[in-house]
Every structure is written in structure tokens, then in C-alpha cells.
């Protein structure tokens, strides 16, 4: 009984295992290129007879950018297997794209297809049309004279067409030098094609057309030992290229023609503890991408501590390095630093200049200094016989305590012209002198022309007489009024007639003021001086004082 139960349980377990549906899928090609068509095949094995699937693809929701379409199914009646084919186009961007799980409805049951992942990569050689093709890799920018431009021709194969070789590569371009980097084309990293690398170097400015022609060998279909169907396919590239000189704006003085991206690798010294006078070799290794072989070695200045002798240099082409070598001879003992090596470079992509600096290296120089250190710099451009072309120079021995009475010490080197007190004193003296000179000149002029002062005094006397006359008129004193008027007229007329004032009569006044009323003048004179002879009534004078005052005003105007 127990055995029967065990057998029954085993059968039930087997039945339950058979109840699982098997779903597998395959994408061709396994890795697709961006925008490339692909084929998806889904194979299903079930425990029941499946029959034809219905409404396939209704539930499929491909990821964004992917097109996926049900293209057909294979099934046989009475079997538990079914094969469904889908065709699609991969997205344009690289990456892994997941087709979500979806259901397929058969007459007997519904089967769920799990998630399917599609890998899209740009490195694949497959393309839409499946044909082999050539691509040109060349920077798309303005180039510069003397620049090293790396380029390559990529011959990409496909599933249907395999690129087996290339020949006849020609370059037609004026103003460029063209050089292949290797004799034979090298295989691509993914093994589906070939690459031919080359270098271009512009040798003049302007716009010119670059033309690259060649032929690639293609094998079509399946190859065998007895038949290798192949064909030649030519390719041609034409591109217009602009070439300029390296800009002068911002170009450092120490730019020696380096164009590209460089960095300092190492600085090597042959001996870190030489003796005085023992030459050592300094090797500065420059690495990077650019025209390494065209760079003029930078000059370095030894200063007081080193003699610098240019040395031969070598370049290891395989590692894209350039070595600048110098021979240094220490002149003094002690802890010295090698001269700094500075190189200006031009980056054609950022259009900017950079400075590459090899840092000074510390060297401990042993030995003793010569009795007299010659501070004259060795001229590297001198001839082999030692004849120098430049004038030699050196520091003179200092004499800091040399004193003369004419060179007194100062705390601040300030020019006298910046002293405010200096200029203030000079300006004050000049102003004083100018004023004094002006006074002297005015006084001299007045002494030469005395009539100016006489008339000035006469005007003042006239004004004073007019004021006194007005006061007398207000005080109803006709005698004082007449005396003031007569006094003013006499003083004013005397300045014009150059006569003695007290000696003038009314007739003399008429010479100065011809239109003055004689009666009024006589009345005024008699009133002013009548008391000396015989007094006369003078009260009538005050009836019209304005007429008498008008005489003074007219006389003052003439002065």
C-alpha cells in the first residue's frame, strides 16, 4: 500500500513538472547597431497542443525608439511546439533595451513570454543594408600650419560582406604632406573590418580640398576552400579644409612651434651629486599628441650656477615622446636647482596657448668652488674655437659702504618734483615777486603820467563838494552852499586847465563848461566870496540848488 502511494506521488510530481511551458528567444544579430534591423524569434514548448497563436503582438509594448512587428509563426497541427518571428529596428542610441514581458494567446492556453533584452552598440559592423563601407575619421575644425593631424580610414564589414583588404590609397591635396602610419591596414578592434591610419600636416594657409581614394577587397557570402567569391569596391572622400597660421594674439615669446596637447613626462638627471665642473645630462621628456618632432628645443639659462651646453636629442616615435637633452656643468658647490625648462604650446581645439614647465630638480654639488668664480655666461652660439660673438658681461663687485658727501643717504627715493613744499615755496615766491613788480610798474606809470592822479583827486574833490553843498542846502545855509559849489568847480577845473585852483574865476569855469549859465556862476562866486567885499542877498541860490549841483556833476564827468 505504501509503495502504491509513493508511485502515485511520483507520477503527480512528474505531471506537475511537465506542466511548465518552455519559452526561449533569439535575436539576430545578437548585438545590433544603432538603427539597424534585427530579427526576434520566440520558441515555445508546452505540454498541450498549441495550435496557431491569435492576435500576436497586441500586448507587445517595445521600448521608446524601437520598432517591433510580428512577422509570422510556424506551427504544426497536433504538436506542442510553436515558433513566432518578429522583425524590428533598434533605437538610434546605444544601450540595453528591455522588451517587457507579454502574453501569447493559443487556442489551448495563454503563455507568458518573459522580458527580452536587446543590446545596441555602435561598434558593431552591421548596418541596415548589410554592405561593407568605408568611413573617414578626421577632425572637423580649422587646422594650423605645422600641425600634426591624425586621421584614419575605417573599412567596416558586415555579416554579408567581409572586408579582407585594401589597396591603392591615394591622397590628392595641395598644401599638405601626407604620410601613412603603417604599410598595411590593421584589423578593427571588433574584428569586422580594417583601419588605415595616416597623418596630415598643413604646410600653407588657405582653403583647399582633401581627396582620398582607394579600393577595398570584399568577400561575399560563405567562403570555402574551393570558392572565395570576392569583389573590389572603390571609395572616395572629399573634404574642404581650412588652414590658418597659429594666432599671433596671445602668442608667448617662448612658443617654439608646438601644436597639440602635451604634458611633462619626466625629468631625468644622469647624476644627482656631481662635483663642481663635472657635466651631468638633463633629459626632459615631453609626451602627448601633437607635432612633437617639429618642436624647436627650448633654450634654458644657466644663470650664475650652471653652464648650459646643448646636447643631441632623440625621439622614441613608438611612444609619442620627445626628449630634450642638455648638458649642465655646475659652477658652484652646494644645493643647487637645475634651470627651469619652459615650453609654450598651442592647443588647436581650444585655440589657446598653454605653458608646459619642467620643474627644477635639486642637485647637491660637491667639491670646492674655484678661487675666482667667473660670472660670465658661456654663449652657446659661440664657435668651436671659443670665439664669442656677444659682448661679455658680469656683475661688478659691490661697494655698499662707498660714501661721498654729495650722496647723502635717503629713507625714500622720492623725486624733488614730487615735493609739495618745493612747489608751494616757488609758487609763493613767484606770486610775491609778481605782485611787487606790478606795484613798481604801476607806480612808475603813475609818476610818468601825473595828470591821472590830479584828475583822480579832482573827482574826489567834486564829489566831496557836492556832498557838502547838499548838506548846506538842507541846513538852509546859502553861503556854505555857494562856497562848496565854487570850491568843487575850482578844483575840478584846475585839473583840466592845469592852473591854480584858487586863482580861477567864473570866466575860467566857462572855458571848461562852456554851456554853463554865466548868471548862475556869477551868483555863486559872489555868494561865496562876497563877504570879503560886500555882502549880497544869497537866499535865491537855494531856490534851485539842482542847477548848481548839476554843474559839479557835469564837471566830474569830464574828469
Amino acid at each position: 500500500m505504501k509503495n502504491a502511494g509513493f508511485i502515485l506521488l511520483t507520477l503527480l510530481a512528474l505531471l506537475s513538472v511537465r506542466a511548465d511551458d518552455s519559452v526561449s528567444w533569439e535575436i539576430t544579430p545578437a548585438v545590433t547597431g544603432p538603427g539597424q534591423p534585427f530579427r526576434l524569434q520566440v520558441r515555445i514548448e508546452s505540454d498541450v497542443i498549441l495550435g496557431p497563436a491569435d492576435r500576436v503582438g497586441k500586448e507587445i509594448k517595445p521600448p521608446r525608439g524601437m520598432a517591433l512587428r510580428f512577422s509570422g509563426q510556424i506551427f504544426r497541427s497536433g504538436t506542442t511546439e510553436a515558433t513566432l518571428n518578429f522583425s524590428g529596428v533598434s533605437p538610434d542610441a546605444e544601450g540595453a533595451y528591455v522588451i517587457p514581458s507579454f502574453n501569447i494567446r493559443f487556442p489551448a492556453k495563454m503563455i507568458r513570454v518573459p522580458e527580452i533584452t536587446l543590446n545596441v552598440s555602435g561598434t558593431t559592423g552591421f548596418r541596415k543594408d548589410g554592405q561593407a563601407r568605408a568611413e573617414l575619421e578626421l577632425p572637423d575644425r580649422t587646422f594650423y600650419v605645422g600641425e600634426r593631424i591624425p586621421g584614419a580610414i575605417l573599412l567596416r564589414g558586415s555579416e554579408q560582406e567581409f572586408v579582407s583588404g585594401s589597396f591603392g590609397l591615394e591622397c590628392e591635396a595641395e598644401g599638405f604632406s601626407f604620410q601613412l602610419m603603417s604599410d598595411r591596414a590593421q584589423p578593427l578592434d571588433n574584428g569586422q573590418g580594417l583601419v588605415t591610419a595616416f597623418e596630415l600636416t598643413p604646410i600653407r594657409t588657405g582653403s583647399s580640398e582633401l581627396s582620398l581614394n582607394g579600393i577595398m577587397l570584399i568577400q561575399v557570402g560563405v567562403t570555402s576552400a574551393f570558392s572565395t567569391p570576392s569583389r573590389d569596391r572603390p571609395f572616395t572622400f572629399r573634404r574642404r579644409i581650412n588652414v590658418e597660421h597659429v594666432p599671433e594674439a596671445g602668442r608667448p615669446a617662448n612658443w617654439n612651434g608646438a601644436i597639440g596637447k602635451f604634458l611633462t613626462d619626466t625629468v631625468q638627471l644622469s647624476n644627482l651629486s656631481p662635483e663642481v665642473g663635472e657635466p651631468i645630462r638633463l633629459r626632459a621628456i615631453l609626451a602627448g599628441e601633437g607635432n612633437l618632432e617639429r618642436i624647436i628645443p627650448p633654450e634654458i639659462i644657466g644663470g650664475e650656477n650652471w653652464d648650459v651646453i646643448p646636447a643631441t636629442e632623440r625621439r622614441r616615435r613608438a611612444e609619442d615622446q620627445r626628449i630634450f637633452a642638455y648638458t649642465l656643468v655646475p659652477r658652484l658647490p652646494g644645493k643647487l636647482l637645475t634651470p627651469e625648462i619652459r615650453l609654450a604650446t598651442f592647443d588647436p581645439e581650444t585655440r589657446s596657448f598653454n605653458q608646459v614647465v619642467f620643474a627644477p630638480q635639486e642637485v647637491i654639488v660637491t667639491g670646492t668652488a674655484p678661487a675666482k668664480v667667473d660670472l660670465v655666461k658661456i654663449d652657446p652660439g659661440a664657435g668651436a674655437n671659443g670665439a664669442t660673438t656677444k659682448a661679455l658681461a658680469g656683475l661688478a663687485p659691490p661697494k655698499p659702504n662707498l660714501r661721498t658727501a654729495l650722496s647723502s643717504p635717503v629713507a625714500l627715493i622720492q623725486p624733488l618734483a614730487a615735493s609739495k613744499s618745493f612747489w608751494a615755496t616757488n609758487v609763493a615766491l613767484f606770486t610775491l615777486l609778481s605782485l611787487s613788480l606790478g606795484v613798481v610798474l604801476v607806480m612808475g606809470y603813475l609818476s610818468a603820467h601825473p595828470e591821472i592822479l590830479i584828475r583822480h583827486h579832482a573827482r574826489r574833490s567834486c564829489r566831496r563838494a557836492a556832498r557838502q553843498a547838499k548838506q548846506a542846502a538842507q541846513a538852509q545855509d546859502p553861503a556854505a552852499f555857494a562856497r562848496a559849489i565854487v570850491e568843487g568847480l575850482r578844483v575840478g577845473s584846475s585839473a583840466l586847465l592845469q592852473a591854480e585852483a584858487q586863482a580861477l574865476t567864473q570866466r575860467d569855469i566857462l572855458r571848461v563848461l562852456p554851456d554853463a549859465p554865466l548868471d548862475l556862476l556869477e551868483t555863486l562866486f559872489q555868494a561865496a566870496e562876497g563877504d570879503k567885499f560886500a555882502p549880497r542877498p544869497t537866499s535865491a541860490l537855494l531856490t534851485e540848488p539842482a542847477c548848481a549841483l548839476d554843474l559839479l556833476a557835469r564837471l566830474e564827468a569830464k574828469l
Binding site: 658681461a393 659691490p398 629713507a411 624733488l416 611787487s436
Partner: protein, 252 residues
Amino acid sequence: MKLKFLSLVFLLLSILPVVAVPTAGEVAYAKGDYAVAVEQWEEQGRRDGLTAPLLSALGNAEWKLGRKGRAVLCWERALLLDPRDTVAIAGLRHAQTAGGIERPVPSWSENYSAFLRADTWLIIAGISFWGMTLCAALPKFSRKNTSPWYQRGLVTFATVLALSIPGLWGAHTYAQRAVVRRADVALRLTPTSQGEPVSGIGEGDVVRSERGFNGHTRVQTAEGKTGWVRAGEVEAIWGGGLPANLDQKAAP
């Protein structure tokens, strides 16, 4: 007679150079310890004042230490105090030929003014101006006929004044020089920190400074290139004593 003789002897003694006992700075310099020599001479300069020989010696020591900017500044200032200081002249010539220092070529008026100090030119011009003025003004004060001596003095002072004017102009243009104190200074097209670099000038190069604007100074290099540099990157040769310590922040 005896008094005149004594005066002449005193004058000769005052003009003749006086060499004192070697100081600690000189001893250190002779031993090759240039850092100590600089310290000693700077202390001496602060204590006793600056002279042309002291500044030129300081320039030599700074040059030995590789501080080009300070060295050239010391030599230039030594020449301001004594245009014929042989140590400073040799140092600047050495810096130009062996050290790669760029220095503007002096104009004819600057060469003319180098015959005397700038202050001496100004004093000569001032004396001649006042002499000429007094010779012209004194006859006016005296109200007498002009004496022949006044005429001769007027012509003499006017001649001296005319001869001193080129010296004054040369001293004025020479005073506009400045020394680059920083390494790898960019000469910019505009007085802004983002201005396009036109060219580069190195430490110790002498430039002609013009006007200032926006924290920058417009300078003209020895090659004739004109541009702007930051005000702290150059130091004028006039108006200072010892070279400024650029590592020390300025007082607020």
C-alpha cells in the same frame, strides 16, 4: 689766503669717496651667503638710509639669489640716486645680456638726463629760472638804466634753463619706468582679469608705465607692445625705498 686753502681742502675731502670697514653684509656676500648679505644690507638701509652703492650691492645679492625683479629694481633705484653708479650699470647690462631681461632703450632725452640726477636737473632749472626772473625784474625795481650785468645774467640763466629742459623731460619720462615683479605676467588687451593676453613679460623686465584703471596699469614693453597688467605685478622705480615684499599683504 689760509682760509681759502682750508676751504678747498675740505671741499676735496667731501667729494672724495670714503670707504669704511667691511660690514657683515660684505663678509657674507664674499662668502657666497647672499641671503644673509641681503638681510644685513636691508637692515642697514632701514637704519642708515639708502645710497646708490648700497642699493646696487643689494641688487647684486638679489640677482645671485635668482630674484630678478628685486635685483633690477634695486639697480634702477641706485641709478636714480647716482646715474653713474658703475655697479648698477654693470648689473643691468649683465641682466640684459646674460639674464634675458628686457629693458626699454633710453630715448635721447633720457640719455641726456642721465648725466645728472633728476633732482639736480630740477634744482638747476629752478636756480636758472629765478636768476633769469630776478635779472629781468631787478632793473624795474631800481628804476635805473639796465646794467650790462643784468643783461649778461639774463642771457646766461636763460641758456642754462633752456639746456636743463631736455634733462627735466628725460628725467620725467625715465621716472615712468616700472619693474615687473611677478613671473609670467600676461600683458592683457583690456584692464580686466579676463582680458585677452597679448603677450607675456617676465620677472625683472622693465616697462614704461602709463595710466592706471580698474586695478590695472597700462604699460609699454621694451618691444613696444602696449597692454594692461595688474597694478601689483609691477613696481615703479620712483617713490620707494627697498623693494616691496609682495608676499606680505598690504595694510588695510
